[in-house]
């Protein structure tokens, strides 16, 4: 007979806004977790998944209060505990693995001292014992050099390793319940697969119960026994992983699943023979830091990259963080001048530095950045943001300019009433649309899209991709689409370049991504993308290193 380790009943969590208005952010949530069961909380940002997970620790973030309901962990009501009791609970019965391990470790202390801190605080064992235990956990989490890795400092290990060390920190107190808060969201797919595998291994061997918070259904499918779908602080649907994936009931769950379906992209490419490319990038070398005597920068981020973009077509650039894909966009835009090589636009070479390019050249290539939060000036209204490029490039003012702003908002499917708002008064997806509209305002030929869907929820991202496709047909645009997400690139690109460590590893048509890759790195990259199939993780062959 299995007993429930967690029983949440009618949980209500409220917050107070700065004008004193009370909002319920979690509404009547109830669920159980059986011993040894891993339950996933899934939903978009703002759905309350982390808030619920934190309530298991008896913690409500500043400004939030638990208003009603009970949270029982091993039969004891966490909400009724006093601070000392909660402190005794944390780390020994319930442990937490945060999203960003890099932010969770103190950079000035050795890793092992931080990992065994829980044992020290709760006086669980002697320090030599704790060290031995930590090293055992490092083995279990398949960390490299488990005997000595603890003596390093946080900056000396990779992001994936740090995330596993954070898990070791949580595991050392032998908790009955582990909470994983988006632990792999910030990792590259090739690293994510190792971390997931290590987590799954440890959890099954230890027979622990867990809560896995994520927005990524495919990741959750690998590790969870049961899935709870959340939206706007309410449970929309809950069921076994298999049921949710194969037989979703709620429309929102279906929408989430639909966003995973690869959207076929009809390449408009015609084999018209030798047409001069719109943008021809020839053997570009660029990097950061002082340029040395040999004419090379201190850190070379792009090594001999060549590629071409034809009118009306889209070029995808894919690779993990640090592969140089964003640097390529900055070099094309002239923000990071190359030290060697040429960028030929429409048959004539562009100056390496944007300062030396003409206004017309600048107008025709626009760049859209990943984070709309930092790409839109927070103090200027949407109207103001969009009218500036119109005034700047076309010298239009007043009513003519306002009419164009309205047309732009219409183009990106935003109501024109939004133009008086400030960026912070829009949602993430709306901000990204404004970000895109600003680039469109210049009436460009090429838009460089730098990870523009990465910070968005899956459903929202899918809508933005649809918008991009629609605009392309309407306006005769060409995109260079940079992403680390294979499925988005596939949904919009004709050709895809795989980058690794500043080098172009391979170029192939988007349609042949899955079976046409020849280079070992591209193969590894493509096979690391999680699939909705729960058996996927176990089917991927192990790699030697890392």
């Amino acid at each position: 007979m299995t007993t429930n380790i967690v029983e949440i009943r009618d949980l209500v969590i409220g917050a107070k806004s700065d004008s004193g208005r009370k909002i319920e952010i979690i509404k009547d949530v109830s669920f159980d977790i059986a011993e040894g069961e891993i339950v996933a909380l899934i939903g978009e940002s703002g759905s309350g998944k982390t808030t619920i997970a934190l309530s298991l620790l008896g913690h409500a973030r500043p400004g939030c209060t638990i208003l009603g309901g009970t949270v029982r962990v091993e039969g004891e009501d966490v909400t009724a505990m006093n601070l000392a009791q909660r402190e005794a609970l944390r780390g020994t019965k319930v442990a937490y693995v945060p999203q960003s391990a890099a932010a969770a470790f103190n950079p000035s202390k050795r890793l092992i001292d931080q990992v065994i801190e829980v044992a020290k605080i709760h006086d669980l064992m002697t320090m030599p014992e704790a060290r031995k235990k930590a090293i055992k956990l490092f083995h279990a989490l398949s960390l490299p050099n488990p005997e000595t890795i603890g003596d390093s400092y946080p900056h000396q290990v990779s992001g994936g390793q740090l995330q596993r060390l954070a898990a070791a920190m949580a595991l050392i107190g032998e908790p009955q319940l582990m909470i994983f808060d988006e632990p792999t969201t910030a990792l590259d797919v090739t690293t994510q697969i190792d971390v997931l595998r290590a987590f799954k291994d440890v959890m099954t061997k230890g027979g622990m119960a867990g809560v896995y918070v994520s927005h990524d259904l495919a990741v959750v499918a690998q590790i969870a026994d049961r899935i709870i779908v959340l939206q706007a602080g309410e449970v929309r649907e809950s069921g076994t992983t298999k049921d949710i994936l194969e037989n979703p009931q709620h429309p929102y769950t279906r929408e989430l699943l639909a966003a995973f379906e690869p959207v076929p992209y009809d390449s408009t490419r015609t084999d018209a023979g030798e047409v001069a490319p719109l943008l021809d990038i020839q053997k570009i070398v660029a990097g950061y830091g002082q340029v040395g005597r040999d004419g090379m920068p201190e850190f070379v981020a792009l090594k001999d990259i060549s590629c071409q973009l034809h009118t009306g077509q889209n070029l995808g650039i894919i690779g993990e963080s640090g592969s140089g894909k964003s640097t390529l966009a900055r070099t094309i835009a002239g923000l990071l001048p190359q030290v060697k090589g040429n960028v030929i636009f429409n048959g004539s070479p562009l100056a390496a530095n944007y300062r030396e390019r003409s206004k017309e050249e600048l107008r025709r290539i626009q760049i859209v950045f990943q984070l709309a939060d930092t790409a839109l000036n927070p103090t200027r209204s949407i109207q103001n943001i969009l009218s500036r490029p119109i005034t700047f490039y076309q010298d239009l003012r007043g009513a003519e300019c306002a009419a164009q702003v309205d047309a732009l908002l219409d183009m990106v499917q935003l109501p024109t009433s939004m133009k008086s708002r400030l960026p912070r008064e829009l949602s993430g997806g709306q901000k990204q649309r404004v970000n895109l509209a600003r680039a469109l305002a210049a009436k460009p030929d090429i838009i460089l899209c730098d990870e523009i869907t990465s910070a968005l929820d899956t459903v929202v991202a899918a809508a933005v991709i649809e918008l991009l496709k629609g605009l392309q047909q309407e306006l005769d645009l060409s995109y260079i689409f940079i992403s680390h997400d294979l499925s988005t690139v596939q949904a919009i690109c004709d050709d895809v370049i795989v980058m690794y460590n500043g080098e172009k590893v391979e170029q192939l048509p988007a349609s042949r991504l899955h079976n046409g890759a020849e280079h070992p790195y591209s193969k590894q990259l493509f096979s690391s993308v999680p699939k909705l199939d729960p058996a996927w993780l176990d089917s991927v062959p192990l790699r030697g290193d890392r």
């Binding site: 004008s19 835009a333 923000l335 600048l362 984070l371 930092t374 790409a375 839109l376 000036n377 927070p378």
Partner: protein, 280 residues
């Protein structure tokens, strides 16, 4: 954890009662500075009391000074110098500091290096000593005091504005504007300035306090406002002999300086916060 302060909410701003208190005192002194000659019960330079260092009385609420002049009237007229000179110099200092700081952040390179080193050198001179030397060299008059105080406080304001502007300058929206081909003037006025006004205003208030204190210090040393005019610092100095008689003539101008500087500080620490939640 946030402390829960009692607030009220006019015009979509959350204002604490400390702010209201500070603002009242600041407006009070501003009013005194503007309408001083209407408010003063006596002429500030006329000897009206038979006694020197006289005690508080109905006729002389803050007593009389070392010559038997009315201290209240002298403080009221002194407000004009203390508040006026400080305000002019702080505006001058912050304007030049912020403009130079933002342009250094945006232009960068040699311009930034040379400007930063020069202003660093300037700020390495002790401010009182610098004031002393300058006043000794060119004499003391109101315009010279204003410029002197402004020069002393420009490097600090420059450093502060530059540090803020460098952060904003690294934002993607500035990069987008650059890639669009915008000129430095547009970048400074439209993209950067609106994002640093809050901290810059707070810095302005703080610098105002420093300047009031430095001006009072200079006047106390006899280098500031010259007789027959007097600011609060020089009133303290004139009457320092009355300290052993516990004369209110020493204490009153000190309290005036304290009330102004503390109020400005309180206001800076409790600036009204715009309420973001508009009920959707």
């Amino acid at each position: 954890m946030a402390r829960h302060k009692r607030t009220f909410q006019p015009l979509g701003y959350s204002v604490s009662f400390v702010t209201l208190f500070a603002v009242t005192i600041i407006f009070f002194w501003a009013g005194v500075a503007i309408f001083g000659n209407l408010l003063a019960p006596h002429s500030p330079s006329k000897i009206v009391d038979v006694d020197y260092f006289g005690p508080m009385s109905k006729a002389f609420p803050f007593g009389s000074d070392y010559l038997g002049r009315d201290v209240l009237s002298r403080i009221i007229l002194g407000a004009r110098f203390t508040v006026g000179i400080s305000l002019c110099s702080v505006l001058l200092a912050c304007f030049s500091g912020v403009v130079l700081g933002m342009s250094a952040a945006v232009v960068g390179g040699w311009y930034d290096t040379i400007l930063s080193r020069f202003l660093d050198a300037l700020s390495s001179i002790p401010s009182k000593l610098f004031g002393l030397v300058m006043v000794a060299a060119v004499g003391s008059s109101t315009p010279i005091l204003i410029v002197l105080l402004a020069v002393i406080y420009t490097p600090g304001s420059y450093r502060f504005a530059r540090a803020l502007a460098v952060n904003v300058n690294a934002m993607d929206y500035v990069t987008v504007a650059r890639a669009r081909g915008e000129r430095t003037f547009y970048l400074i006025t439209q993209e950067i300035l609106p994002n640093i006004t809050g901290p810059v205003l707070a810095d302005l208030g703080l610098r105002f306090v420093f300047i009031v204190l430095l001006l009072s210090g200079l006047s106390f040393l006899g280098l500031g406002v010259q007789p027959p005019n007097a600011d609060w610092g020089s009133i303290v100095r004139e009457n320092i002999g009355g300290l052993s008689f516990a004369a209110p003539a020493v204490l009153a101008p000190c309290l005036a300086i304290a009330s102004l500087t503390i109020s400005v500080n309180l206001l800076i620490d409790n600036l009204p916060v715009k309420i973001r939640d508009t009920g959707e």
